[in-house]
Each structure stands twice: as structure tokens, then as C-alpha cells.
Symmetry: C2
Subunit: 377 residues, 2 copies
């Protein structure tokens, strides 16, 4: 977390105490971190909320307090697709994430110790409810648009279902109405890699481990992250990008079965950046919350039934044919379900080669779709 003189644009919204969780359990004195861009107009009808994927912070784009690039810098800002000259944009750090919101790495006020695995079961509905508290605290009764990306797209469906009338339009980005078994298998294996790391120690690792401290599940987190990156991108992209290019000999590890191909080095670089920058217990909680999410729970076992309970005016549903984690057919389910529910729905299927991460990379095509949609609201 930024400290001292590091720029920090986060604000904090306290949650009602106790804050009741979907699967039982509750949090006391909890809070959610968020950032904003632009200005809420007098009618309070120009607010846009963005719910993020598993790992990003609330710093979606540069702002006055923190001019560093955000995770969706190309998408949001003055004159950009999510035009902060026009919209009052809020980005929330998910409840359970360690980027400022209350999470398993936070201190439990009842004990003075970090929650670790005593954190209550976390669902994406809890993430949604916490975000809704933030929006209300800002004086917004009804969002002009709710944008949800990846995991945040599932949370967004929960938000709209649990808070009828709170959203006018919705943008659904590279997400799903429920976790399917392939995605569950991938995430389960990521969690298992962390759980099997002896240094995870049932969640009792050193939360504040420095770069040289060993009491931290680096191994499990590295495997989890690499598996994530493999499923976030696409084979097609990598054929063009890496092919069979070898590493320069001096960059190779001098150890048995060490890395030899550029694609291996690429994964390693991703893992190194991530391992110590995201709390492992938070990762486990958010990952499992994604597996649990199923809009069909609200529709008597039917996805269409669950989506049918969402009452909004318009939606843009966007996905990409190269996504193996949230396949395009799942975006079609969302589009079809929201249409049946009475919304006017635009469905955009892109062929971006970057797979699930296309929304973070193919800014040109995603900007055109999202910017075009927002301009008509």
C-alpha cells in the first residue's frame, strides 16, 4: 500500500457495523476504499460505478491526488471512453481485497490480530453490497451506468439483482452469469498451489513479509499467478508474440529444467510482480467467491430466471472469442437474459487476440464499444 509521501487518491467509506455477509458471519468497523473522477451533477444522475477484476485496486486512472497511471488508464479520463468530463466515475476496491478495503489481512477489531482465515465467508454479493454502500454514501440513488469487468462483472449482476432500481444502464465486460467447471478447475488449482505451499501455513504466513523474508508462500502464489496469466491471455496471441523464441543464454537460469523460452520468462516476470503485491489469503477468498457466484441461484436454478429479475433500461454486453476463462457463450447468456428481462441490449463480440485480458489491452476496440454506448445514455 502507498505510504508516506506516495500519492494516494483513495477515500474510505465505512460500512454499517455490523455488516452482514451473505453466507452468514459479519464484519465490524469495516470499510471500502474507492477513488473518484469527475463531478457529480446537481441532478445526481451522471454517476458511473466500475467494479474490478480480482486483483486491481480502485486506482483505475490518474487523478489529481494520484497522477500515476491506473489499471484502465486508456479507458477512463477526460475525453476518453469513460469520459470523466461528463461522468462522475467511482471505482471501488472490492471488499476482501487488500488494496485498502477490509480484507483477511486487516486487523479484526475483536482480537487486535489480522483476520486471516477467521474472515467470514466472502461472496461476490458481499462485494456488491459493500460497493452499494459507497455509492449511497456519495449521494447517488441511481447509477447512470454500472460497469463490471471480469469478476467485477459477476459482482455487478449481483448488485443489480439485490438493489432493484439502483442502476439505469449496465456494461458487462468479459464476464459470466455463473462460474463454469473449467474456470472453477483453474481457480481451484490456483488455490491448491497456495494451500499446498508449506509457507502458507493455513494462512499464518507473515502478512508484512519484506522482500527478503522467507515466511511467505511465494511458491504457491507464483504458480497461481502463472496459471492465471496463461488463462487470461490466448494461444493465438502468444503464437505471434513469443513463437518459439529462446531466451538469450545469459538470461537463462543455471539450474535443472530452468527457463529456456521467452514465454517462460514472461510468465516469471508477471509472477514476480504479483506474488508479494497481493495478499495470499485475500486471493483465496476472492477466488472462491468467483467460483461460488451463480445468478441461477436467484432464478430457481435458471440463468435466464436469475437475469430476469434484473430491472435496467439498457445494457452493453461485450466479450472476446479468444477468452477461455469466460467464454463468449457466457456473455451471450447475459445478453439474452437481460433482453428477456426487458432491457435494450447491445451485444459486442470481439476477435481481439489477447483473450480474457483483451479489455485491458485492446483499448481501441473496447473504447469504441464502451464509449459509443455511454455516449448514447
Amino acid at each position: 500500500m502507498p505510504q508516506g509521501t506516495q500519492p494516494d487518491a483513495r477515500r474510505y467509506c465505512p460500512l454499517p457495523s455490523p455488516f452482514k455477509m451473505k453466507r452468514g458471519g459479519e464484519l465490524r468497523d469495516a470499510r471500502v476504499a474507492y477513488e473518484t473522477w469527475g463531478t457529480l451533477n446537481a441532478a445526481r444522475d451522471n454517476a458511473v460505478l466500475v467494479l474490478t477484476g480480482l486483483s486491481p485496486s480502485a486506482h483505475m486512472a490518474a487523478n489529481a491526488e494520484d497522477p500515476s497511471d491506473g489499471w484502465w488508464e486508456g479507458m477512463a479520463g477526460p475525453g476518453k471512453a469513460i469520459d470523466t468530463d461528463h461522468w462522475f466515475v467511482i471505482c471501488v476496491n472490492s471488499l476482501g481485497s487488500d488494496k485498502g478495503s477490509t480484507c483477511p489481512a486487516s486487523v479484526d477489531p475483536a482480537t487486535g490480530e489480522p483476520y486471516r482465515l477467521s474472515f467470514p465467508d466472502l461472496s461476490l454479493e458481499d462485494v456488491a453490497n459493500a460497493a452499494h454502500v459507497v455509492v449511497q454514501s456519495l449521494g447517488v440513488e441511481r447509477l447512470a451506468c454500472l460497469i463490471g469487468c471480469s469478476m467485477g462483472g459477476m459482482a455487478a449482476l449481483g448488485y443489480m439483482l439485490l438493489h432493484p432500481g439502483s442502476v439505469r444502464a449496465h456494461v458487462s465486460v468479459d464476464t459470466a452469469p455463473q462460474a463454469q467447471p473449467f474456470a472453477i478447475a483453474i481457480r481451484s488449482l490456483q488455490r491448491e498451489a497456495i494451500r499446498l505451499d508449506p509457507r502458507w501455513d493455513e494462512g499464518r504466513y507473515d502478512i508484512h513479509a519484506g522482500a527478503d523474508d522467507v515466511g511467505y508462500p511465494d511458491m504457491g502464489m507464483a504458480i497461481a499467478r502463472k496459471l492465471g496469466v496463461i488463462t487470461y491471455r490466448s494461444a493465438m496471441e502468444w503464437n505471434g508474440r513469443f513463437a518459439r523464441i529462446r531466451l538469450d543464454p545469459e538470461k537463462r537460469e543455471d539450474e535443472p529444467f530452468g527457463f529456456e523460452f521467452e514465454v517462460e520468462s514472461y510468465l516469471e516476470a508477471h509472477a514476480r510482480r504479483f506474488v508479494r503485491s497481493f495478499d495470499p489469503n485475500c486471493y483465496l477468498y476472492l477466488s472462491r467467491a468467483s467460483d461460488w457466484f451463480d445468478i441461477a441461484e436467484y432464478g430457481g436454478g435458471s440463468i435466464t430466471g436469475g437475469l430476469g429479475r434484473i430491472c435496467i433500461e439498457r445494457a452493453l454486453v461485450i466479450g472476446v472469442s479468444t477468452d477461455i476463462l469466460f467464454p463468449l457463450a457466457q456473455q451471450e447468456q447475459i445478453a439474452d437474459g437481460l433482453r428477456v428481462a426487458g432491457a435494450q441490449v447491445d451485444f459486442v463480440a470481439l476477435d481481439s487476440p489477447q483473450g480474457h485480458d483483451a479489455f485491458l489491452v485492446d483499448i481501441k476496440n473496447y473504447s469504441r464499444a464502451i464509449g459509443g454506448f455511454l455516449a448514447t445514455l
Copy 2:
């Protein structure tokens, strides 16, 4: 390995000593395990060789000495697609695999100790050359057909290229002319999971560990196997097969983040069967050999150029649209390249839902294609 009274149909073919390996290094007193079905005819022109994927043994199908089901039981046998009433069928255990052939778990005659990581670099060309020795030892100068599945399909390309005139027809099953970066990334991560397991200990684990012995990299092998199974099957199949079905509560693990969905239990069962039945160092060697394989090395950097040096009369190239590890486009490359090289090529693209493993599961469609092709030879 089967011992004592367990049925065992394996025979052993000694390799020339020393047996020179492609990347330098050599083996002394090495051997290859194989099994056969049917009878070589007087003209010695009815021999079919099968090269396997990474993990199977030479026991492809039941035979007199070992009536247990083989790994391709539905495909090979009297009256089946690979008709052992007509063909003399040989299946070879890959050099480097621990199912009877010389491998990193074998004793190095120079030291009296297992090779472990002192085993020389293994390539699929070495696997092919060792198989060629077996075929010659059986008095077969020219195979009627060489069938290669998955990793064995790559080895088969090497076989035909390195031994001109030794093969009349070829069946290429769910394979590739070179390893692409997505497959390399998956296999690299599998190897990394094993290497990071402290009990791998740079290859010095207890090779003969019993079920209760702990000095064995169970964790790394389990992660590697699960990741394998995830990439061997397909999301489509799992949507139909597992959906979001939960485990019975009594089958759930009573531990944090334990398994909850049937797909997780399925992966666990696969891992349990595999972890102690395949030697981890052998896995590392064969996995890396797959990454190294590139027919373009023989064609001045061109796949077509490499395939162009293969001189056979006919080929059947078969693959499946749901395969993410060896995508259909790679089978098309093989078909196109062999055609350019002058072979008459049949290309069959199936829509079996089972992904890469379809050749082991969708016996009906694979039988029709392979049996139909063999019947015309």
C-alpha cells in the same frame, strides 16, 4: 512395474551401446520395452507401430500374456480399427519413460545408482530412434503404418524424417509439428510445480517411495497432473459433465478452501492415480522433450520445409476442434506439409467434446477414421 505373478506382456529390446542421443550424451546398456499383437506376415509388410503420449505404457490393448485392458483398448484388437487379425502391431514404451524402458529412474551401469538428473538430455528424436531399433530388431524394414498420438505424434514425425523409407503410411493423432508457446507455458508450469516441491530435492527423492513414505514430490506431481488433465479435456465437455454440481457434504474435505465441486474431486482422483505411478524425473525429461520438438529445425526454420523432407505414400491426419493443447490448426499444418511433400493425405477434423483426450474417449469417431484409413492400405 508389474512384478511376480502380475501379468506382463512386455518384451525388451536392447539398444546399441553406446546409444547416442541427439543433444549429446549417450546411454550404455539401454533397452526399450514393447508389446506386440498379431503376427508378422511372410512378406514382413503388415507391421504397424504405435508411439504413445507422455504417460502410457506399451500395454495398448489386452493380449495373451496380459489380458488386462490397455490404454487404447477400444481401438486395437481382433476386428477393431487397428485390427490385430490383420496387422502385426507394435507399441513401444518411450525411451525415458519408466514403464520398462531405460529412463532417469533406471540404474546407470557406470555408477550402480539411478541416473536421476545425470540422465542425458532427452529429445523426441531419441524416442523415435529407440523405437526404430525395436522395429528393426523384429525384422521389419518398412512399417505399413506408423501411428503417433499426442507426444508420440511428434516423435513419429521425427521417426519418418530421420529414417527415410522406413514408413509407408502415417496416422497423426492430436499432435503438432512443433510445440507452440501456450503448450510450452502449460508444460513449463507443470515442471515448475515439481521443481518447486521441496521433496523433489533436485531429483533426489525416494524413487521407490511406498504409499506412506513422504520423501516424494506428491504436491508438485499432483499440481502437474491436474493442470495436465485440465488441458487434456475441454470446457465444453465439463459443462455437460460437471456443470456446478456440488460434492456430497460427506465427501468434502474438512479443511480451509477444501474441495466443494465435483470437478475438483474429479481432478483429485486423476492426480491420486498418477502421482505415485509415474516417476517425476521421467516426467520432467519427457515434458521438456515435447517443448523442444520442432520439425522446422529440419526445414531451415520452416514447418513445411521440415515436413517436406518426410517421404511417405499416404497419411491420415486427425484432430479435434476442442483441443487447446494441440489445436486443430497444427494438425492442418501437418496435413498441408505432408501433402506438399507428395503424400496422399486425408485430413479429419472432429468435433468431439473431450478435447485433446478425445482420441482416448471418442473411440467411435476415431475408430471410424483410423480403421477406415487402415482398411485402404
